[in-house]
Symmetry: C3
Subunit: 343 residues, 3 copies
């Protein structure tokens, strides 16, 4: 599939962007970007993952971004770079659909008279900006967004449609916040009393750094007393839950459906797989990698890859093994006894 949306570049122009070397015709016109398998004439493609090398010989792409190692096997023109995946990431933006951005504040938006909206900011239809909020330069607030009292959105940040940001939240520069995200809702703070649960007011805020991306329907709660903090460069996928007073360190990436309970601190440059759960009040070191659906109930003090759970198997076999798991402690004791008996 070619996704050129009418845009075209010469191969030389693209090479310049990624500081790559052209092996072939620099004047060639490139009209789209695609996978090796899906590419058509006029497309640029890329080979980043060795698993896809099998598609190289047959690709119909006009150019393939490759590393030095693969240039010989490229059946067409090549754009040689050190890191083809990074080069693809850079060039992808040149072929992306350019949304038709409205200008200024839509007439159906409701902006409080004390809110400061930069002249270059865009506020979509039916968006609401409350008292004292500050909307920076080039910020785009999508249709139907709610921006609470005293909340600050720094320059170049984009909120897609229907994002809800409570009061007293700070979002840094160049962030992307997808639809359905909720920032700054109350943390789950309840104290057991004689007549049930007593709510604890959630007085802290949420502070989000620069260049953070937050996926659809993710929720980040405000702090109980101090702030919940998402540091610069963090990337959050969809459907994630970040509880009150969590701190997520710089450049950590978290895949969809994971949840982090209250007051846990996740280090820098971590990669948290999908569906993971991290209990509250823990400390996760820098450079920790959790594989999918891992449950963490103790702090992790050393960088490395961690896992929990069991792997998929046919249900009939699994049922037998699960029964044995319930007897595992007993089984271990029986083995111990056998060892003694044999001695």
């Amino acid at each position: 599939m070619s996704n050129a949306h009418g845009k075209q570049y010469t191969l030389s122009q693209l090479a310049e962007i990624v500081e790559g070397e052209v092996v072939g015709e620099g004047d060639r016109i490139i009209t789209g970007i695609s996978t090796l398998q899906g590419a058509q004439n006029g497309d640029i493609s890329f080979l980043a993952n060795p698993a896809y090398e099998k598609f190289l010989a047959e690709t119909r792409a006009s150019v393939v971004i490759v590393s030095h190692n693969s240039v010989d096997r490229c059946p067409c023109d090549a754009l040689v770079v050190k890191n083809p995946y990074l080069a693809y990431a850079a060039l992808s933006h040149y072929f992306a659909f350019a949304l038709t951005e409205p200008l200024g504040i839509h007439k159906t938006a409701v902006v409080h008279e004390t809110a400061e909206v930069d002249m270059t900011a865009v506020v979509g239809a039916s968006a609401v900006i409350e008292k004292g909020a500050v909307i920076g330069a080039n910020v785009i607030v999508g249709a139907g967004c709610f921006i609470g009292e005293n909340t600050v959105l720094a320059e170049d940040t984009r909120l897609y449609a229907n994002v809800s940001v409570y009061h007293g939240v700070s979002v840094g520069k160049g962030c992307i916040v997808h639809s359905g995200v909720v920032l700054g809702a109350d943390g789950f703070g309840i104290a057991p009393g004689p007549n049930g649960w007593n709510k604890i007011a959630q007085i802290g805020g949420v502070v989000i750094g620069d260049n953070v991306e937050i996926g659809a329907n993710t929720a980040i709660d405000r702090g109980a007393l101090d702030n919940t903090v998402i540091e610069n460069g963090v990337k959050l996928d969809n459907q994630i839950q970040i509880a009150h007073n969590v701190i997520v360190g710089e450049n950590t990436a978290i895949a969809a459906c994971s949840g982090i309970a209250g007051s846990t601190r996740v280090g820098k440059n971590c990669v948290i797989g999908g569906g993971c759960g991290i209990a509250g009040h823990l400390d996760i070191a820098d450079n920790v990698h959790l594989t999918g659906m891992t449950l963490v109930t103790k702090s992790i003090k050393k960088a490395g890859v961690y896992s929990s759970g069991t792997a998929v198997e046919p249900n009939a076999k699994w049922r037998r093994n699960v029964v044995r798991f319930r007897q595992l402690d007993e089984l271990a004791n029986r083995v111990k006894k056998l060892e003694k008996d044999i001695e």
Copy 2:
């Protein structure tokens, strides 16, 4: 509980709808539909699950939908059909509350001048329809929905309130999309670079077939280069995450809170239980059934029922077994040694 909302039918009328046989009075007036336990005089009920047969004798329903096998034990009039559950499904719609639908485009909706909205379509209050979008015949766009640029909603599709659909998304005929759903947000495409993560533009779209239902707060991301595809007849429950370039095959049903990672292809007629996680770049065969909270990290090539995880047990016992799980490889080696020693 009777849910008649003022509607009533004769037993003969209902029998005709489901092509069933009346055993009793065809002129009997039916004013509601209910469970066996909750039924009152005037209600029709059904016996589809043998586990509920115990409630048959005592039911106060006026009519029960039964199969041939159970008609003798029915204490009241019977509507005999081959598949009582399907008959109940069909008749349920005759007793459902009929929402008062507005007509046309609400005056507070914001519809771009180039968008094509069919004369028979309904656009709710504060909904936004962007440039070049196409809204088909009898489509209902709920209040507060956002429909992005060039997105197409085919005929007879309904979006409940506050659904967000990005640009370049295609939704087929007769679909139902519940509140809070996000279609077409960016896939989680990031490439590691020297200064953190580099965003990869998500250029693909989302293509959703006909008769698809999408539950509340589910998110389906747009593709990186090619499309994310949900085929005809797929049923998705709430809080589900479908990542970029996933393909979900025809008539597959996925229960709530499950997540499917990027580029995985799920076959036709699969049933995925709640809270499952399927890793990226996998192939799941047709007719695969995953039980709840199963983690899949390898392709599944054969139809069948699959599971992972362990079953619930009292915490004190579980703690001991979990410790033993951590020693399981060592335990297996000790058993091997014992076997050798005994030989």
Copy 3:
């Protein structure tokens, strides 16, 4: 961090609220509330968890809420109470930010002429209130909320921005519903037929008791025939899924990302950890506590703490143990044989 927002109280005033005893100067002015570690001069703090006792000596708080046992080690004025955590919960509300509430119905809201909105209720910008809905005294409906036909919101209930409530839902008094919540979407009711899945109309409603809090992006489906029921005092965190016809008993608290499948009844005073999954048609007794990410596939008849899954470990070790788990039934049989051989 002090979060006083300009509010200040004397220590005696605060003591009166929580019926505590002042050890120190009752006239002392308190301007904020904070953790022991973060407190500054003028703040009140609290010692509720023995793990934090180590911070007591060094705190810069002006007053600490303590129990009788710790008063001697308090380096500053003390507010002595029986239950410091409950006292903190009570006082927290006195330091919370007071949102600037609008008055009445915003001019951009769309309220059906037959809806009854109490004179003291607030309806935010672009909110939609459908036919026959009833909005009680002091209710706050946030901006962009949708309130469906015949839905009732009882007095003193607050919906934050962008909440979607379908038709025929009843929310009790004093509830708090956070952004992105969806109440009353269709349950996942589908019957397999010869041509795929047939939708079952979801005719039941949702009934939510008094003093219930519902976290961001949580979804509670309407019942198939009877209602889905959330009893008084239930506290739900973010991203939770409650399926059709679930009943959650009084004062039960459920942490984020958990899901409860259809027709399951959860007892009173349960505590369900984050990321748990409870299968359908089960009965969970009162006072059951599930630890995080527990999967429940059978009814639990006795109060107590329950768990499932395995604990996190380094991936290399985990991989070996997971392989052994798949052979666990066989291993158990081998041990049995060894035991026989030795006899």
